[in-house]
């Protein structure tokens, strides 16, 4: 796990597990306090220039690029609980859909101001996530899976039946989204939607990046790797899981609201099981537990989907299934994991010479 190697201080000669390092700090690690280097690497800066380059290089694809960034944000939210804390969720679309419907309903009923709509969606999804998190931390993998799935299905069914409010199967239309900051109107080209999504994604990414590299983020990895040891370090496991689940639900809600505002439509599928499953696929495709994996996975997945499902939707599902089986059997760690392995192999070869 790259995350594990991150934790180990640069001075430690052999890999030490977190619990051990924390209990018996070596003199060297004490002075460095074991916090990983938080400075932005050149590769990361280059990565964040990509959307800007894409903006100028593919002006005809702004809508797709915006959606990639929004779904990437959604995948980030899942990475927090799955990649860092190790909670398997099959129902993360619940929070996405909740955020989408919150922003959508506000806009339909006359509250079209985008930023406050985004905040409202974040609050609604966050509060719901906080409530659900108490159920999620109770069980083990199978129970968690079922509870998250069940809650997502419940919301889906509720949105389906309450068609007077949500439009049911036809989806929620008639959203009147106001101008961003009262100035920029959402245009058909998607220019404003692009910059809006990019700004929200980037700001949240900076916050989340800081969070997962903080002691709190490290304790989540500790919970994932050895949940029994964490209480002996004075960590209240349940409380931390509840905290990260709430944060994750909030982010998912914001992503949903972004999609609703930029497309001016909320479909019932935003709450569906396929969306949760696809999200899991994107994350695993990119690589879990490294934040960038979520973004890379979302980008690759959605570009491929745009291309292949244009040919035939049924084939698309077959190939995505095949890809999943392949990743699990042969390519653990996804795209970024594979690249890291390649880089590590290259490095050790260089050292040997």
């Amino acid at each position: 796990m790259s995350a594990m190697t991150d934790i180990v201080s640069p001075n430690a000669s052999q890999p030490v597990s977190i619990a051990k390092t924390a209990m018996t700090p070596t003199p060297a690690s004490r002075t460095h306090l074991n916090l990983p280097n938080d400075r932005w690497k050149p590769m990361e800066i280059a990565f964040w220039l990509l959307p800007v380059i894409a903006y100028f290089a593919f002006p005809g694809y702004l809508v797709l690029i915006s959606q990639i960034m929004i779904i990437g944000l959604f995948a980030l939210s899942l990475d927090l609980i799955l990649g860092y804390a190790g909670i398997v969720s099959l129902g993360h679309a619940a929070f996405f859909g909740l955020g989408a419907y919150t922003a959508g309903l506000l806009a339909v009923h006359g509250w079209g101001e985008p930023v406050s709509g985004l905040l409202a969606a974040a609050v609604v999804a966050g509060v719901f996530g906080f409530i659900v998190s108490f159920l999620v931390v109770r069980g083990q993998d199978l129970t968690r899976l079922m509870v998250t799935l069940g809650i997502c299905l419940m919301l889906h069914e509720a949105a389906n039946k309450a068609s007077w409010l949500t439009g049911g199967v036809d989806g929620l239309s008639g959203m009147m989204v106001g101008n961003l900051f009262g100035v920029f109107e959402f245009d058909l080209n998607g220019t404003v939607a692009f910059w809006y999504s990019f700004a929200v994604l980037f700001v949240l990414f900076v916050v989340l990046r800081r969070m997962v590299k903080s002691p709190f983020g490290l304790s989540l990895i500790g919970i994932r790797e050895g949940v029994r040891r964490m209480p002996s370090l004075g960590v209240n496991v349940n409380r931390r899981l509840i905290a990260i689940f709430t944060v994750s639900a909030t982010i998912a809600g914001i992503a949903g609201a972004l999609l609703a505002q930029t497309t001016q439509f909320v479909g019932l599928d935003s709450l569906g099981f396929p969306r949760s499953a696809e999200l899991l696929i994107m994350l695993v495709l990119g690589g879990t537990g490294r934040l960038y994996g979520a973004l890379v996975g979302a980008a690759v997945f959605m570009v491929a989907q745009d291309y292949i499902s244009g040919l035939n939707p049924a084939y698309w599902q077959f190939y995505i299934g095949l890809l999943l089986v392949f990743i699990v059997l042969f390519a653990r760690g996804g795209i970024l994991g594979g690249l890291e392995k390649l880089a590590a192999g290259f490095k050790s070869k260089k050292e040997a010479v």
């Binding site: 299905l153 069914e157 899991l280 696929i281 089986v325």
Partner: protein, 288 residues
């Protein structure tokens, strides 16, 4: 009103026993191999399509199509277990979930490719249609037949597991793999055969269930949660647990859809969340 209630109860039990038949294999694989198999519904779907195909294309009688559904699903289960599933017994639950979602998606796409996206019709033989008068109650003949088959299968399964040498080997392997292997039991073969048996039962359930559950390519996804539910609520690794859970869920689902159609499937999901919170390890725990 009372007759009405009895009718709902009867339909619920028929529905529940079908759920049990399909899910019991999942319970055993989850309890025995600790494998979360979301693709279990795909085996049921396979059984359904085999049954429909031999019925319409080859003109095989309905009763004879059921064993064929069982055999086809069991064979496919055996092959997949030997080739793919066994590699993942020691993998994390996340990997198992992803792998089986992948299989499910592939099965959905393959079914769409071969059979088209529409519902498959099934023509039941004359003697299974209409209503039968039992104990002062008019009940669907097919549902009565369904319950009968499930009772037979359950009794046979109980005898197999409690009374035969193979059953003893299954129980030993579930309890302690290492010790069983040390006693000369071929644990990996027992796993394979059990997996095949479970898949076969799912196929049988799929063939039997076309009239009740319907059959189209989204079947594995549509009913996935029901099968998982039966196992998660009932407790993995037992037979009684899923039976109890399946009957409860079946009755509540039918009753919910009958009495409060406006909230529909909401009843079953709410019930599931409540049951899982009250009994995180399932209704009936396996004795250690």
């Amino acid at each position: 009103m009372l007759a009405n209630f009895a009718g709902v109860l009867f339909d619920g039990i028929a529905y529940g026993s079908l759920l049990f038949l399909i899910s019991v294999g999942l319970s055993v694989t989850m309890g025995m191999m600790n494998f979360i198999n979301l693709a279990h519904g795909a085996f049921a779907m396979l059984g359904g399509y085999v049954s429909v195909t031999v019925l319409s294309a080859l003109g095989v009688p309905f009763l004879a199509s059921l064993p064929l559904a069982f055999i086809a699903s069991a064979l496919v289960g055996l092959v997949l277990e030997r080739l793919l599933y066994r590699r993942l017994y020691k993998a994390s639950h996340l990997d198992q979930v992803l792998f089986s979602i992948g299989l499910t998606f592939m099965s959905v796409a393959a079914a769409t490719y071969f059979f088209g996206p529409t519902q498959q019709p099934v023509t039941l033989p004359e003697w299974l249609r209409g209503q039968v008068h039992v104990l002062g109650l008019d009940v669907g003949a097919y549902r009565l037949f369904l319950i009968g088959v499930v009772v037979l299968v359950t009794v046979a399964l109980g005898l197999l597991i409690e009374r035969t040498r193979f059953g003893a080997q299954i129980r030993a392997s579930v309890d302690n793999q290492t010790a069983s292997a040390g006693l000369g039991i071929n644990v990996s073969l027992v796993f394979s055969l059990t997996f095949a048996l479970g898949s076969g039962l799912a196929g049988l359930g799929g063939g039997l269930g076309i009239d009740v559950l319907g059959l189209d390519p989204t079947f594995p996804i549509k009913y996935m949660v029901y099968f998982l539910l039966v196992v998660a609520v009932g407790g993995a690794g037992t037979i009684k647990g899923p039976l109890l859970a399946a009957i409860i869920l079946g009755v509540f689902d039918v009753a919910g859809k009958y009495y409060v159609p406006e909230i529909g499937a909401f009843v079953i999901y709410a019930l599931m969340v409540v049951l899982l919170i009250l009994f995180p390890a399932g209704l009936i725990r396996r004795k250690a």
